[in-house]
């Protein structure tokens, strides 16, 4: 096991098993102080297990979890200095909002006056009114319940805030609104935050850094820009953002080495944007109107390439011939093991439709 470092949270060779099933084989990761760090991945990839290992609800079979340099692997949940907001908020249904927020303080035997002051203070910071404090938790909306859950956690002044898909129970519009609020709360409290989600939009818009999980292992760690623009594995390329997989014929005709190749949807265009762009001829298979843009699915040789276009610039119909322009430097290529390789331009040839 390696030496302790100055990370706020550190996984050092953590292995987690459920019976014979290995949920996390060998996790090494460091989360920096004050960071908003996101575990991103599909269902069952081990991201929640990793979070629960930090919380102390899951005991690793091997390895260590360190918080601010202290090994907390064998410490109970409440002795780790972590606060957790659960996916369904886990608000105590028999208590009022005030009792929910003050529960941890009551357990720690904080006197009534001190409790009230701290509850009022944290409630103000998460925009809960005094009327809401005396309400029953069931009487609050989803967004308000989430604020209560955050307040209940933050009132304990934890070193680390753990958020387990806290937006998944909200409707689409509220989700977007709550992203900003969560980020503001995190920034206001200045607390190291670990956030779990399967939603790439949430991860990209809120995080300082992202770890993309797949089958219990981390595929890539990086800033949202690094993860999106420079995916290091085929899995990350597919999972984060939207890409079109190019057929070997198209790749070869573009003068590239014939290996697994992708182009981001916004990197393909209906008009040349760079002098080095290659024209790929195809036919429109599907048209989807999205308001701000139109998404065309264009069938080329052996593949379908998705293109975004402005509704004011291009209006194609299903069955129309279409030319797509892709710059070879925008093509993301991966080897047989799914690892990213440098895109190599061999020659420039347009692909006939």
């Amino acid at each position: 096991m390696s030496e302790p470092t100055d990370f706020a949270v550190e996984f050092d060779g953590v292995k987690v098993t459920y019976g014979d099933f290995v949920a996390i084989p060998d996790l090494h990761l460091g989360i920096r102080e004050g960071e908003f760090f996101t575990f991103l991945g599909p269902s069952g990839c081990g991201k929640t297990t990793a979070l629960r290992t930090v919380a102390g609800f899951v005991n690793p079979a091997r390895g260590a979890v360190r918080i601010k340099g202290t090994d907390v692997t064998r410490l109970p949940s409440d002795a780790r200095g972590v606060g957790m907001v659960f996916q369904n908020y886990a608000l105590f249904p028999s208590m009022t909002v005030r009792d929910n927020i003050g529960y941890g303080l009551r357990v720690r035997r904080v006197d009534r006056a001190g409790r009230q002051q701290r509850v009022d203070d944290v409630a103000r910071r998460v925009d809960l009114t005094s009327a809401q404090l005396d309400a029953h938790v069931a009487d609050l909306s989803g967004g308000q319940q989430q604020r209560v859950a955050i307040a209940r956690t933050m009132v304990m002044q934890p070193d680390i805030l753990l958020l387990d898909e806290p937006l998944s129970n909200l409707d689409a519009k509220l989700r977007v609104q709550m992203r900003a609020e969560l980020k503001a709360v995190q920034s206001d409290f200045g607390i190291t935050t670990v956030y779990v989600t399967h939603d790439q939009d949430e991860a990209l818009t809120m995080s300082d850094r992202i770890a993309v999980f797949n089958q219990g292992s981390i595929e890539q760690v990086g800033t949202p820009d690094e993860v999106y623009a420079d995916p290091q594995t085929e899995f990350v390329c597919n999972f984060v953002g939207e890409s079109s997989k190019l057929s070997p014929q198209v790749v070869r005709n573009m003068g590239l080495a014939p290996t697994a190749s992708y182009v981001r949807v916004e990197r393909a265009a209906l008009a040349p944007r760079t002098p080095t762009a290659i024209r790929v001829q195809g036919r429109v298979e599907d048209v989807a109107y999205h308001g701000m843009h139109i998404r065309y699915s264009v069938g080329a040789v052996g593949c379908t390439v998705k293109v975004l276009a402005s509704p004011t610039e291009h209006r194609l119909q299903k069955g129309d011939d279409a030319s797509i322009y892709i710059d070879p430097s925008d093509v993301l290529q991966f080897d047989d093991t799914g690892r990213r390789i440098q895109t190599r331009v061999l020659s420039h040839t347009a692909v006939p439709a």
Binding site: F57, M84, F86, A90, A138, R152, M156
Partner: protein, 590 residues
């Protein structure tokens, strides 16, 4: 740390576990071993004389045959009536369906020996309806309502509660969209019933059929009160034979036969239950709407039959309430006048200690047993759900023993196991004491309580406990603050249902009641004999009305919830769906 290691390090669960193991061995396992010993080794040597005695006793053989006959016919008759009730209250559009439901539901508030005695008082020798009928049919014999038909009719009407609980619930889960799809393809209400609804209900119908069969097999009070000399079944025969030392081994063997038959059928039932039932494949199902019969003739016939059955169900209740206000002389002479209606019977019961005593004894036993059982099981279930290992799994199975064994076997087991000093009870002789019935009641209610409380515990959101742990709460504090508040309403409901079902118990009390502490069921049964006290008949009417009021109040408490905004308050504390198959020979009295 191993799972057993964790339980060993928790003193709280260690104490609960030790008490549970002792109780299980002492009162659920050992009494059954004692019965087997008493049947096959009555004097310490292995003997199969009991089989010879059964083979040579025409009466015992007849009782076995009668039990089989009653079980088989009851399984059919209950399904016919029960399915009809479900159809007219839940499937077809019938005017006044809610009123009909209340009429058919009268057997929820009185059953067992109370119902059998009530039917006898109304339809039996010297009964009110018998008097009316003889006005039209002078040749009608006094005891026209007795023997096998009387037992079958009474038990059929009493046992349809299973259909009202389980089949109605199952039907309400059928997706209306599948019915509408069939309608679009041209299917009428009857075809939809036969091809869409009934096939979906097949598992639950099979389950209630087995429950009805078992109810018939273990019937005690209905054959005793209404069977007469010609139609006695196994359970009353066991009760009679157990009183004599020379035939006690036969009683034990009969109880074992009853127990084995019950277990075999419940195994089949469990197998069916494991198979699961699919009411809807839709992600968002819509509620089944009632179907309108297109044929006006068919609709009329349906309404006439529904209301005819309604009268059959409600007439005894109405007459029992009415006659509870009549003096004994008016009841005996069958001369009813509004001027005779007084509160005298109620005054007599409430003012005289002798008349009130059985009611107080029943309330005392029921309250204590229901309270101890629920309180104990709250801790036991917490232990069983928190610590899953081979010991707790075995304990959970053993705690279900009272569910699969008939009351007669459970009662005889306690009698023979503790009629002498034993180390397991610290040398205390339990047989003949008032405590033995309390122990039997607590044991009998364990499976039902366990099942419902377990359902309440496992549906608790585990993240609530984790949140509390994360906030620093200790295990006992989590139990008090987080786990018990949401479970508490269910515990209260289970307490109330247990209390209700014990209030008029006869099946266990007939074997175990102390002479000085005779509960209501035993006294009502004794009053049905009629020769003890001229006021006994009117006392029975008063007892029955009081029981109906108490039971009705409790049922209201459990199933009716005021409209509040909290999601938890919108549903009943214990829904019919969660009350899985009641222990047939005790929960459904007949």
């Amino acid at each position: 740390m191993t799972r057993l290691g964790r339980i060993a390090r928790s003193p709280f669960f260690l104490v609960i576990g030790t008490i549970t193991i002792w109780f299980t061995v002492a009162f659920l396992v050992w009494p059954n071993i004692a019965v087997i010993t008493a049947a096959f080794a009555p004097d310490g040597h292995i003997s199969f004389d009991a089989f010879d005695k059964i083979a040579s006793s025409e009466r015992v053989q007849r009782s076995l045959f009668n039990s089989g006959l009653l079980a088989a016919t009851l399984a059919v008759s209950t399904n016919i009536v029960g399915v009809f009730i479900v159809l007219v209250t839940s499937y077809f559009r019938v005017r006044g369906a809610r009123l009909l439901w209340f009429g058919y539901a009268t057997t929820f508030i009185y059953g067992g020996v109370v119902l059998a005695s009530g039917y006898r008082a109304i339809y039996g020798r010297g009964g009110i309806v018998t008097g009316w009928l003889q006005g039209f049919l002078p040749a009608l014999p006094e005891d026209w309502f007795s023997g096998f038909p009387a037992v079958l009719i009474t038990m059929t009407l009493a046992t349809t509660t299973n259909h009202m609980l389980f089949v109605s619930t199952a039907m309400s889960r059928i997706d209306q969209q599948s019915v509408e799809a069939a309608q679009l393809m041209g299917a009428g209400p009857w075809r939809i019933l036969g091809t869409i609804v009934f096939p979906t209900l097949r598992p639950v119908l099979f389950a209630v059929t087995i429950l009805s069969f078992l109810t018939g097999l273990g019937a005690l009070s209905a054959p005793q009160v209404l069977g007469g000399t010609d139609f006695q079944t196994v359970a009353p025969t066991i009760l009679t034979l157990a009183k004599s030392d020379s035939s006690r081994d036969v009683a034990m063997l009969l109880a074992l036969i009853l127990g084995v038959a019950t277990m075999v059928l419940l195994l089949v039932f469990a197998r069916m239950e494991r198979g699961g039932t699919y009411y809807s494949l839709a992600r968002v199902s819509s509620r089944l709407e009632k179907q309108q019969l297109r044929s006006s003739t068919g609709n009329t016939v349906l309404h006439v039959a529904a209301y005819g059955l309604f009268v059959l169900y409600t007439l005894p209740v109405v007459l029992i309430v009415l006659y509870s206000f009549l003096p004994t002389t008016a009841i005996v002479s069958n001369q009813v006048s509004p001027a005779d209606l007084t509160m005298a019977n109620y005054m007599r019961v409430f003012s005289g200690k002798a008349a009130l005593w059985p009611l107080l004894v029943s309330i005392g036993y029921s309250f204590l047993a229901a309270f101890i059982c629920v309180l104990g099981m709250l801790f036991v279930v917490r232990m069983l759900t928190q610590h899953r290992n081979w010991i707790t799994k075995a304990l959970e199975v053993l705690l279900h023993i009272p569910w699969v064994l008939p009351a007669a076997l459970a009662a005889l087991g306690l009698v023979v196991a503790y009629d002498h000093a034993t180390p397991i009870l610290g040398g205390v002789v339990l047989t003949g004491t008032a405590g033995i019935l309390l122990v039997a009641y607590i044991s009998a209610k364990i499976p039902f309580t366990l099942r419902l409380l377990r359902a309440a515990f496992v549906t608790l959101d585990s993240s609530l406990e984790e949140a509390a742990r994360n906030l620093g709460a200790s295990p006992l504090r989590i139990l008090r603050d987080i786990v018990l508040p949401p479970v508490f309403p269910v515990a209260i409901a289970v307490f109330a249902l247990n209390f209700n079902s014990l209030l008029d118990d006869y099946d266990l009390a007939a074997f175990l009641a102390h002479p000085l502490y005779q509960p209501l069921g035993v006294v009502i049964r004794a009053n049905t004999s009629g020769d003890l006290n001229p006021d006994a008949i009117s006392n029975n009417f008063v007892y029955t009305v009081l029981l109906m009021i108490v039971t009705g109040l409790v049922m209201t408490l459990v199933y009716w919830r005021p409209k509040r905004r909290t999601p938890a308050a919108r549903t009943p504390l214990v829904t019919p769906g969660t009350v899985q198959a009641p222990r047939p020979t005790q929960e459904v009295h007949a």
